[in-house]
Every structure is written in structure tokens, then in C-alpha cells.
């Protein structure tokens, strides 16, 4: 191997770094991490090892990744992979994420695939970097590589002094080519994979992976200095606010610019149907957006909220697909003794970020820089470039963490809003949506109606399971679908279907799931386990209804239908934590003022078939139908555990968020637009509503790690509905389980 050449950093030392942004309270930490690295010359091609990793003279390792951290701890887990494969202390690793000028394109951060797919090139690159370091040391020490080991940032011979990584390669290039596996647009959007050169460690040798390394981001988050996208500031920046139509689809007829004349520095910003305001001070922009007068056209009314589940199957069909189809349904039904058919309905829901969508854009005649909380920096970048009419290579998108979103949404919309406003006013513009913008215009988790026709035999084996769902695609807001782009015209629209029924794990001789995607009337985008929490609400509710009709305990009924050891382990672990008592029929508590109920459900979700089971205990006030969550016991299995504490944080979060969705959440709308515009109209679970929670991780060190972010949420709605079923004897067929609905069932 040839000697390392001078790095870009050395070549450009002293050339000065263009200061392009700063943060509230000081210099942006990512800028600090990349200080001295020339942004124009850094390679980002995935085929170059130097695109992924850099080591400085002090032995600090910087990982460059196109993946982003949505508040789930990805940054820390990726650093664990680097520390593990390179044998450096975790404190020596820094991570730069999602900057299109600095990081390789790794597609979207979605579908709980960060550590399954997104980490793959990180591991392969780090293992290769270690091999390069050993080779360099081998030349220096005149020893074969087989006699060297790596330890704590050093290459060590069996006797005598070793050489530090900083000394071996500090500030120089690796200059090693890697090979990419799969280069189709789908491969890239899901996340690039590298072909292995030097072998990464075997799981049995892990020392950093599998430990609860504390998250890198939490200290700054608790002292108020963390750089959220909301805190990015650019010199000469104006504050912008959007002004949305009074009805979805309305056209802007005219704007009375003089209606904001009294507000210091305020200006109307308009392009076709896109309307916004800017002002030097944020409070003035807010006031201008509130008082600006505009005329909008009338539009055809939306379907009535009360009848959405009847409307869904009658909407025009966009696509008709199967999630799975096995066996002969006719024979399955013929072999059953009990046959049931039930329809379950899941409402439109908000992602409901606590911090509304926000972005900063600095758009010039030829170039643009965008700071966004996007989950897909490269996708957002290419869309915004097209929308602005700029070459994509002239647009830099810099990801900064936003508020936890659990699905791509308004973060991208706000980036387009800011970009258009900046292009028009020729100054940098920061846009933050108001609460009513967020609740009113974020792309929603689409409503779904699901029907199951199924049968079970006398021994409690399910013989046929035929599932049909109607829903708009959960990917409408994904690409080419920024709200602002629609308003100015020319948005290419959407074409990808997602939100399909989850795989059904039960061993059933004849089963089918059919997904009919219908024309949307409200913009949609995936929300934590799209199609998963919905279909599993239906699957597991139906299993309870079949168990009841069969006179078999719901836990026993499930065990009879899944021989899979991992399924049985999560079911039994959850049942054990809760002290499950078998039952074959409804509780006899007809006279009680407070009804008690207990439900069980499980689900598999994500790459690698991660799974959870939970038992939920509730009490229900008979007079009002109000549910109190008493206890939730969840068992979770996602294969090998990378960071136990971080995983527990995800499992607890997925559990509580799922229970919140099932208990409280429903977007309301009238014939013109969404009307649930704040936290009173769209309540979520609060501290006062918390159940007692018990969690148990079931580690599988012999298995690969699999998706962790969504599997803890998929069975929540079903477990809660099954607890209500147990309490009142009738199964809820729609969500949320608000008091009026529950009372109507009692």
C-alpha cells in the first residue's frame, strides 16, 4: 500500500472556512466537528472509504453518515459500531449526519432501518479502516499484520510499543476504494450497502456493542444548548410564516398587501397559491400572518368526517395489492367450525410533533443552502432543487435534528416554504409553522378500514383468515409532494404505495391479506409502523373474538396458533409479568360501577421480524365510559441488543405512543379542512394518564439485530381494545377508545 497522501484538510488549511450558519447560544457543534474540513472538496461517493471516516492527529475518529438521528439514539449506536470495529474509545468518535455536502447518500431514515441497513456500510467501512491501520503499522514496525492487534486507538505488537492511529494516518486520507452492492434508485433510497473487504468482528467478540453507552446528545438536550433546526440562525435572516388557505385545495385570488402595512418591515410573499409573510422580528411575522387579508376560491367539500369509513371503500382505487396469500381459503373455511367476520376502523392521526416544522433557507441566484429536520436529506434536496429551478449539485441540505416526528412530514414542507420565500425576497428566511399550521396541514397518518373473514376449528386452530384493507397510500407526502410545491404548481405528485398489512405470523393453512389503496382526500405520510399498528389492531382483535367464540383463553388460543419459539417467548414473558390468569369467557361484573379488563396482543414488525407482546390492564368507569390505563407489561425481542438502555427507551416510547394513539387520537375535520388545531382538540397521553409499566427485553445474541423502533408500538392498540373487550364483553371495532364510544358499547 502506498503512503497516505495529504488530505484535503491539510491542502486547504489556512484557506478559511466559510461561516454559513450559527446556532442560538454559540457555534453549531457539527460545524465544530467539521472545522478545518473543506466542505467543497470532501468526497461523498460511497465507494471511497474516505467518504465515511476521517481520523485526525489526535486519534479522533469522525464518521460521516447520510443517516440521521430522529431522537432515537442512532448517533450513539453508529458511534458504537465505529468504536467496536476500530477498537477506539467511544469518546474518541464523533458523528456527522445528513449534510449533503459532507456525507454519503444513505437514502431515507425510515422503517426502523437505521441500525439494520444504515449501519451496514458504517461497520464495513470501519472494519476496512482498521485493516488499513494494521497494514500501515506493519510497514512501520516491519512486522507481519498477523502479529499485530488493535486496542484503544493503537496498533500493538505482541511486545514493545504500539503506534497510535493519529500517528499512523492523522489528517491523511485512507485512499481505499470500496464496492457498492446494489445501485438501483430503490437500493439507494433504502440505503446503500458496501461489499465486505476486511471482515467485521463476530458478535461474540463485541465489547462496545451490547453495552448501554450513554447517548451523546442528551447532555446538551438537558442544558438547553443542543442545536435543533429551530435554533439555526443565519446572518441577515428574516422570519417567515405561512398563510394557508381556508379550505384544502382553494386557489388564492388576491392579497391585500396593505393589510399588514402597520407591522414593522413585514412583507407579503406570494407565488401563485403560495402565500407567506416575512419580517425582521419573529413576533411581527406571526402578527402579519394573523392579520393579512386574502381572498381564496371556493372548492368542492371534503367527505363528512362521520362517514369516512364508509367512504374509504367507495373511493377510486389507485392500486390493489396482496401482502400475502397462502393456501386454499375455501378449504380453510370448510375446515372451520366457527366463522366470524368483523370490520375494524382506524382513524386519521397526527404525527403531532411537539415542536412545529421549521427550516432555514438561503437561496441565491445560483446556489441554495437549506437547514432542515428532513428524514431524507438527499430526497428533500433534489425535490427543492427542482422546485427552485436550480441544479441539484448547487443545493446543499444540512440536516439538523427536529422535534420527534415518527414519520417524514412537515419538516420537508417547511424546507420548501423557506426556500420559496428566500428565493423571492433574496434573503435568508427562517420558517416555523405555528401550532395550527402543524395540526392543520401536516400530512396525516391515513385512515384505514379493515375487514377480516375467518374461521377456527374445534381444537382452537385458525383454519382460514381473509383480510382486506382500504386506505390511501401512506407515502403521499414522501417525494415531489411538498405542500408549497403544490401551491406554486408543478409538483410531480406521488406514486409509491405504502401502509400495507403486516405479515401475519400465525400458522394458518389458508391466509390472505389484500391492500386496496384508494384516492386520498387528505395528504398522508407514514407514522410509526404504517399499516402495522392498524392491521395488527385488526388481526389481534379478531384473534380475541375468535378465542371468545371458541371458549378458549386468549393467551392459550394464540399459543395454539403459533409454534414459533420467539412468538411464544414474548407472549409468555408478557403474561408472566402481568400474572396472567386463564379465562374462557367474559367477566361477570355487570353491576360494578368500575369495570376491570385485561387484554393481550402481540405483533411482529420490521426487518428481521422484531416482535413484542403486551398485556394491558384497564379500569372503565361505567357511567362515563372513561378508560384508565392501570398497567402495561411488554416483552420485546429484536435479536441481538446493541444498546440495552437505548432499546428500553424505544420500547417504552413505542408502547406509550401506541397507547396514546389508541386511547385518544383522532384528527377531526369539517367539509373544508382539518379542525383539530391544537392540543385541546387533539389530546395525547399525559403524565396523569400513565399506566404502571413493566418491560422485559428478550436478548437473542445468536441472531442478527433487527428493527427496534416500531415493533414496540404495533400491538398496543389491539391489547387495549382486547382489555376493553374483556371488561365490557363487546369488542370495540374502531379507535380511538374515547369515553363516548366506550360508553355506547357498555
Amino acid at each position: 500500500m502506498s503512503a497516505p497522501v495529504l488530505s484535503r484538510r491539510q491542502l486547504l488549511e489556512g484557506a478559511g472556512l466559510l461561516v454559513i450558519g450559527f446556532s442560538l447560544g454559540g457555534i453549531d457543534s457539527t460545524q465544530a466537528a467539521t472545522a478545518g474540513i473543506d466542505q467543497g472538496a470532501r468526497p461523498v461517493e460511497p465507494e471511497k472509504l474516505d467518504s465515511w471516516l476521517a481520523i485526525d492527529k489526535n486519534g479522533n475518529v469522525t464518521l460521516f453518515t447520510g443517516r440521521v438521528d430522529l431522537g432515537t439514539g442512532t448517533e450513539t449506536v453508529f458511534a458504537q459500531f465505529v468504536a467496536e470495529e476500530l477498537d477506539v474509545a467511544i469518546g474518541k468518535v464523533r458523528v456527522v449526519m445528513g449534510d449533503t455536502r459532507l456525507t454519503p447518500d444513505q437514502g431515507k431514515t425510515t422503517a426502523s432501518l437505521n441500525v439494520v441497513r444504515g449501519s451496514q456500510p458504517v461497520r464495513i467501512a470501519a472494519a476496512q479502516a482498521r485493516a488499513v491501520l494494521v497494514e500501515l503499522a506493519s510497514e512501520r514496525l516491519h512486522l507481519p499484520g498477523t502479529e499485530l492487534r488493535t486496542e484503544n486507538g493503537m496498533v500493538m505488537p505482541s511486545q514493545g510499543d504500539g503506534i497510535s492511529y493519529g500517528e499512523l494516518i492523522g489528517d491523511k486520507n485512507f485512499s481505499v476504494d470500496m464496492e457498492v452492492a446494489g445501485k438501483t434508485p430503490e437500493d439507494i433510497s433504502r440505503g446503500v450497502m458496501l461489499k465486505q473487504k476486511a471482515p467485521p468482528k463476530a458478535a461474540k467478540d463485541y465489547r462496545v456493542i451490547g453495552t448501554s453507552v450513554p447517548r451523546f446528545d442528551i447532555p446538551a438536550k438537558v442544558n438547553g444548548t443542543f442545536e435543533y433546526v429551530h435554533n439555526v440562525r443565519v446572518p441577515g435572516m428574516l422570519h417567515g410564516r405561512v398563510v394557508r388557505p381556508p379550505a384544502m385545495g382553494a386557489k388564492l385570488i388576491s392579497v391585500a398587501e396593505n393589510s399588514i402595512a402597520g407591522i414593522p418591515g413585514a412583507r407579503v410573499v406570494r407565488r401563485n397559491d403560495f402565500l407567506g409573510v416575512v419580517a425582521p422580528r419573529e413576533e411581527d411575522a406571526i402578527r402579519a400572518a394573523r392579520v393579512v387579508k386574502a381572498d381564496w376560491s371556493a372548492v368542492a367539500p371534503l367527505p363528512a368526517m362521520e362517514s369516512i369509513f364508509e367512504e374509504l371503500p367507495s373511493q377510486p382505487v389507485v392500486s390493489d395489492q396482496l401482502s400475502f396469500e397462502n393456501g386454499d381459503l375455501e378449504a380453510g373455511f370448510a375446515g372451520g367450525k366457527i366463522r366470524l367476520k368483523a370490520t375494524y376502523n382506524f382513524p386519521f392521526q397526527d404525527h403531532a410533533m411537539i415542536g412545529p416544522s421549521c427550516a432555514v433557507a438561503d437561496v441565491g441566484d445560483t446556489h441554495a443552502t437549506i437547514w432542515s429536520g428532513s428524514q431524507w436529506p438527499e430526497g428533500d434536496r433534489s425535490d427543492i432543487a427542482k422546485m427552485l429551478g436550480l441544479p441539484v449539485e448547487n443545493v446543499q441540505l444540512i440536516w439538523r435534528e427536529a422535534s420527534g416526528s415518527y414519520g417524514r412530514l412537515g419538516c420537508d414542507d417547511a424546507a420548501a416554504d423557506a426556500a420559496i420565500m428566500s428565493q423571492i425576497v433574496r434573503q435568508p428566511v427562517r420558517v416555523q409553522w405555528m401550532r395550527h399550521d402543524e395540526h392543520g396541514w401536516e400530512p396525516l397518518s391515513p385512515a384505514m378500514t379493515m375487514t377480516i373473514d375467518g374461521a377456527a376449528d374445534a381444537s382452537g386452530r385458525v383454519t382460514a383468515f381473509d383480510y382486506l384493507q382500504y386506505s390511501p397510500s401512506h407515502s403521499m407526502g414522501e417525494k415531489g409532494n411538498h405542500l408549497a410545491w403544490h401551491l406554486i404548481g408543478g409538483a410531480p405528485g406521488w406514486g409509491r404505495m405504502s401502509g400495507a398489512a403486516a405479515n401475519l405470523w400465525y400458522d394458518i393453512p389458508a391466509k390472505r391479506a389484500r391492500n386496496i389503496y384508494v384516492q386520498p382526500w387528505l395528504r398522508g405520510i407514514y407514522l410509526r409502523s404504517p399499516g402495522g399498528i392498524q392491521s395488527i389492531f385488526a388481526y389481534e382483535s379478531f384473534m380475541d373474538e375468535l378465542a371468545r367464540a371458541s371458549g378458549i383463553d386468549p393467551l392459550e388460543f394464540r399459543l395454539r396458533n403459533t409454534p414459533d419459539a420467539r412468538d411464544r417467548d414474548v407472549l409468555l414473558a408478557a403474561a408472566r409479568m402481568a400474572g396472567w390468569e386463564p379465562r374462557s369467557g367474559p367477566r361477570q361484573q355487570t353491576a360494578a360501577a368500575v369495570l376491570t379488563g385485561r387484554g393481550i396482543a402481540m405483533g411482529r414488525y420490521g426487518a428481521g421480524d422484531s416482535r413484542s407482546a403486551l398485556v394491558v390492564d384497564v379500569t372503565i368507569e361505567r357511567s362515563s365510559g372513561k378508560i384508565t390505563l392501570e398497567q402495561a407489561c411488554i416483552a420485546f425481542d429484536c435479536g441481538l441488543v446493541l444498546n440495552p438502555n437505548g432499546l428500553l427507551n424505544q420500547v417504552e416510547g413505542g408502547l406509550l405512543q401506541g397507547l396514546s394513539r389508541a386511547l385518544h387520537e383522532q384528527v377531526k375535520f369539517d367539509r373544508r379542512k382539518v379542525t383539530s388545531l391544537d392540543w385541546m382538540d387533539y389530546p395525547i397521553l399525559t403524565f396523569a394518564g400513565l399506566p404502571e409499566v413493566k418491560t422485559q427485553l428478550i436478548p437473542r445474541p445468536e441472531l442478527p439485530w433487527s428493527s427496534a423502533g416500531e415493533a414496540g408500538t404495533v400491538a398496543t392498540a389491539a391489547a387495549l381494545a382486547n382489555a376493553v373487550f374483556d371488561a365490557i364483553g363487546k369488542h370495540p371495532r374502531r379507535l380511538p377508545l374515547v369515553p363516548d364510544y366506550v360508553k355506547s358499547l357498555i
Partner: protein
């Protein structure tokens, strides 16, 4: 009309020029460069913007700047730093009590306010006391544990 206001924030005096009706939040963030308090709803419903006014939590998104001139305002930055954290901040780190963390500044302010009026709250009292603060990530259990940890360690405010 814009006027000059002197604010006492995190132990220092700051003079700003703003309309007296301007919510304190925007002055803290945009004039004083404090990123701890966040905009969440502008309606006093979520608590992301919470700061201490003379030791008691207020919602800075709803509080006019002209109403706090005689008071001592503390934001999360004023409670402690990474090098010298406040006991609550240490407890939040020890419990890893954050995910996206957007709500966390407000949570810590609310906890400080709660512990000032009730230095030894039970877990139920913590839940009741924190109820006006929203978290979307489902970090509630850890937040309760972090406050409990600070209490158990004999935190003195």
C-alpha cells in the same frame, strides 16, 4: 410600539428593544440567543417554552415581555451547564430521560418549580405536577424517574 426593556435573565441584565406585548419567548430566543426554551404551541398548552420567573414556572410563549421586568428569569441554560450541571440535569442524564428532547428544557424547568413547592413529592405527585407538559416520544416514565432520583439524592434548590 417598541420600547426599551431591561430583563434579568440567568443572573445578568439585558436591555432589549421590543414591543411590550411581545411574548418573552421570542425575546429570550432571538434577542438573548437562548435556545433552551422552545416554541411548541404559543397557547400555553404544551410547556416547551417554560422558564422560571422568581423560581416559579411560567409559559414564556404567553407572557408579555413587559410583565417580567421586575423578576428574575431562569432558563435551562441558567440552571447549569454540561460541566457544572444542576442536580435535575444530572438526574435526567443519569436516567437517559430524553429522546428527541424538544420538550426536555420545559420538563426540567417544571420539575424545578415543582420541587420548590414540594421538595419531597411522591411518584404520584410528580405525575400530577408534570401533567401540563407534553412529550410525544413517550419518555414520561424516565422523566418521572429522573425527578425521583433528584429528590432521592437530596437535591437542594
Amino acid at each position: 410600539m417598541a420600547a426599551s426593556y431591561t430583563l434579568h435573565v440567568n443572573g445578568q441584565d439585558h436591555t432589549v428593544s421590543a414591543d411590550g406585548e411581545t411574548p418573552l419567548l421570542y425575546v429570550l430566543r432571538n434577542d438573548l440567543g437562548l435556545g433552551g426554551p422552545k416554541f411548541g404551541c404559543g397557547l400555553g398548552q404544551c410547556g416547551a417554552c417554560a422558564v422560571l420567573k422568581d423560581g416559579v414556572e411560567i409559559r414564556s410563549c404567553m407572557t408579555p415581555v413587559s410583565a417580567v421586568m421586575q423578576s428574575e428569569i431562569i432558563t435551562t441554560e441558567g440552571l447549569g451547564t454540561t460541566a457544572a450541571p444542576h442536580p435535575l440535569q444530572s438526574a435526567f442524564v443519569a436516567e437517559q430521560a430524553a429522546q428527541c428532547g424538544y420538550c426536555i428544557s420545559g420538563m426540567i424547568i417544571a420539575a424545578a418549580s415543582l420541587l420548590k413547592r414540594n421538595p419531597k413529592p411522591s411518584a404520584a405527585e410528580i405525575r400530577a405536577g408534570m401533567d401540563g407538559h407534553l412529550c410525544r416520544c413517550g419518555t414520561h416514565l424516565r422523566i418521572v424517574r429522573a425527578i425521583q432520583r433528584a429528590v432521592d439524592q437530596g437535591m437542594r434548590l
